[in-house]
Amino acid sequence: MIKAENLQKRVPMAGGELEILKGITLEIKSGESVAIIGASGSGKSTLLGLLAGLDESSGGRVVINDTDISALDEDQRALFRGREVGFVFQSFQLLPALTALENVMLPLELQGQGEARTQAGHFLERVGLGPRLHHYPRQMSGGEQQRVAIARAFANSPAILFADEPTGNLDTATGEHIIDLLFELNREQGTTLVLVTHDHALAARCQHRFRLDAGALVEAD
């Protein structure tokens, strides 16, 4: 379960502070799929960053499965992310130095898992990239790179998956395939899914939606 309590984010600007998130409170139950929607600059990605423990809040707290991640330092949060969280990003964020297989192995190796290679191979097979294990990101299309990213996100069986505009850099048809794959794996693994999107059709496939406007939560269903 993810709980955000009065979550705030302010950044210093010339001539004062800019308030990006104005006291967000929300709750997401385990296994649910949730979409965070809103216009550009409404604070969606900032909220995702805070919920996933990638950033520090200016006030309030985030509790995930009884752990108050707001109270952890960056290294403790890194360990927490490695254990509990998976990510899929708009720009894929694969390491160009590593092959598809190595990219998927990376989070497993960081966790010290012995079966990293087998498990990574299994997930790449699962996303349909069995024949391309040893290809580098630059040798793959955008859709293929995002499938590698999805395999990497699920590889260490995370409790929660955060996705930031996962179809933002893809054409419509490829985007749909990717979303199908994401929801399919989500169901199989019983993962909690939190995704940020502009896309209403995509948001509609989630169980719940939170709408942000100018840093405030204006609608939830």
Partner: protein, 824 residues
Amino acid sequence: MTATRMLARDWRGGELGVLVAALVLAVAVVSGISAFTTRLQTALEQESHRFLAADRVVRSGSDMPAEWLAEAGELGLRTAQTLTFPSMVYAGDADMVLASVKAVSAGYPLRGELRYSEAAFGPVLTADSGPQPGTVWLDSRLFPLLDVDIGDRIAVGEAEFAVVAAARTEPDQGGSFLGLGPRVLMHYDDIAATAVVQPGSRVEYRQLYASDRAELLDSFVDWLRPQLVPGQRMLDVREGQPGLGDALGRAESFLLLAGSLGVVLAGVAIALAARRFSERHNDYVAIMKSLGATSSDITRLYASSLFLLGLVATLLGCGLGWGLQQGFFTLFGEQLPVQPGPAGIRPYAIGAATALVCLLCFAWPPLRRLSLASPLRVLRRDMPLEQRQTLVDYGIGLVAVSGLMWWYSGDWKLTAAVLAGLAATVLLGLVLARTLLRGGRLVGMSAGSIWRLAFAGLQRRGTANALQVVIFAMAIMLLLVLLLVRTSLIEAWQTQLPEDTPNHFALNIAPGDVQGVEQMLRAQEVPGAALSPMIRGRILTVNGEDLPRREEAEEEGRRQREANFTWSDELPAGNSLVQGQWWAPQSDAEEVSLERDFAERFGVALGDRIGFQVGSESFEATVTSIRELDWQSFNPNFWLVFPPRLLAAYPATFMTSFFLEPEEKPFLNRFIRSFPTVTVIEMDVVVAQVRGIISQVSAAVELVLLVIMAAGALVLVAGVQASVDARMHESSILRALGARRRLVLGGLLIEFAAMGLFAGLLATVAAELSVYILQAQVMGMQYAPSPWVWPLGIAVGTALIAGLGVFSCRKVVSSPPLAVLREL
């Protein structure tokens, strides 16, 4: 992800090229130069030891403790002793001649050889030890003077000796050959029997030490040095070789300077490359952190990468350094008059230590900050990079550069001169570059679109560009400094020993022989100096005060001593006045002109009165001028010059120097036979040796210059690369908006050329400043401005930076804009 995998991939992607090349070059430059100078020094020291007849010599006016020899013997050193003293030598009842007697112990000489012949002026043979007790070797000249032959007997003091050979040369006879009488060589054990040497006699004792194990020698010297008292002096290996000391000292300074500059350049290149590497890795670190990597995981990963990189670069660099110096000795070794000695492991250890310092101080600071990168960059790529520590980085870099230079050159003046030049470049550069760039913008505003584009680009990244101009200027400045110093160094060497440098001295020419000698030299068309009169005298008082006698003197310089006087109406050729005025022709005033170093050693100045003694007569003269002269010219030079009338009454001999081609050597035999009382000293071997070494060292200097040029080029490449991403990004957008190839490339060309122009200008100013400090303060050379370097510095700066810049960005016009943007 393992460090090796990351490095392998970065290497394939071209990310590591400059970093590795700079590291390899730093190690190669340091280990190569260090090995080269070590080998040359070892060789030259061995050679100069021959001029001392030993590795170390202690000289004294009185007997020295026998325990010193015993201690040396116990340590395993070889030892010998000599005693030189003037004495009358008799043969029969009538003939007697004042000779310079040298008594040598059994082991003498410890280095080099004795040369003798079986008859006067006969074919020269070599021996590795001197006369046996009871026998003597006589200078060839003494045979006719004493009317003796091999097998006859002569007397020195109260002892009689059998003449068994003609003494030709001793390894350590150079140096103070002036004024010596003809040589008599005898055994050290016979000294007592002569009863000539009494306490207070004017004698010179020498203890000689040698060992092939330098550490034994060093520990002995460390033990001995504190025990030396005034009047006892340890001789430096370089003192035996006139002309070579200065040349080698300067060459060494140059090579050390070059090495230090190489390290600075490589350091800058490493820092720039590491910074770019770190910037490009920020996103990777953010991804790894989002996947659960902790700061210590990141630190470990990059530290081990750097360690691996350092290891590989050190091995490659040491290999390259070894190859460089080995290649040099293979190419030129045969022409060297000495065999290059071993370099040992030390140069490579210094190379490895340099790599370590470069990595820790230049490469590690930006990489260490990677662990601070925010994982949030995975969501927001526009997040600013972690820059907080940058000032600290510069501080660490500066300390490292200064430390390395000081450690490497062992010369704080040299370090300070280069640092002053660098500081001037940076400070002047930042101010000037910004002003010039702003001025350029104003010019650009009124120009066509390419120019406007270029100058807008310069202006937009004002601070970054100013910094880049400073880095370019630093590299160009260091190269110009090296070029300038090398040019004046080689010029100075060449003028120091022109082709017809005199290589023979003729001494003790009696006044009656002057005309004959002049005629004979003229008839042979031998180039040489005019005959100079020479009177042996003593310096007794300064301003009425008696100087201490040799055995009482606390300092080596200021004491009663013998010297050669000459007279002249004109300032001798090759001399220049530094203070006072030369006397009027036909002056009969009591005046004397002193050589500058001599005046300093005696602590006398213009207007002081000095008391002299020639034979049994004393007189005084006032110092009216101080001269500077070139001791390395191989011309007759004198510390003291008087007006002719002042010395007219005293008996004088004459001397001259002249140049003989090797094939003209037989002339000497005729010359000596015609003038048997004249002493001829052959310096041709020494002159040829000095010239040989100088030409080899010049070649080494050129080679090192090339290597350092490569380091400079790396800095330029690293500097250009540092800004390539931003420029490529902008140019790609321009291309996407439809800008033609000519506009984009033209804009980049002008932008880089302008930076090159400013950098060249700045570098030239700073280089002149550094060279002034270096030549005037460090290398003891005359500074002269070099107008030719101005157009060169500016043209090379402009062309190089423009060429490199456009070359690095060429992809922007050859690939589709989107592909370029995706890669950045």
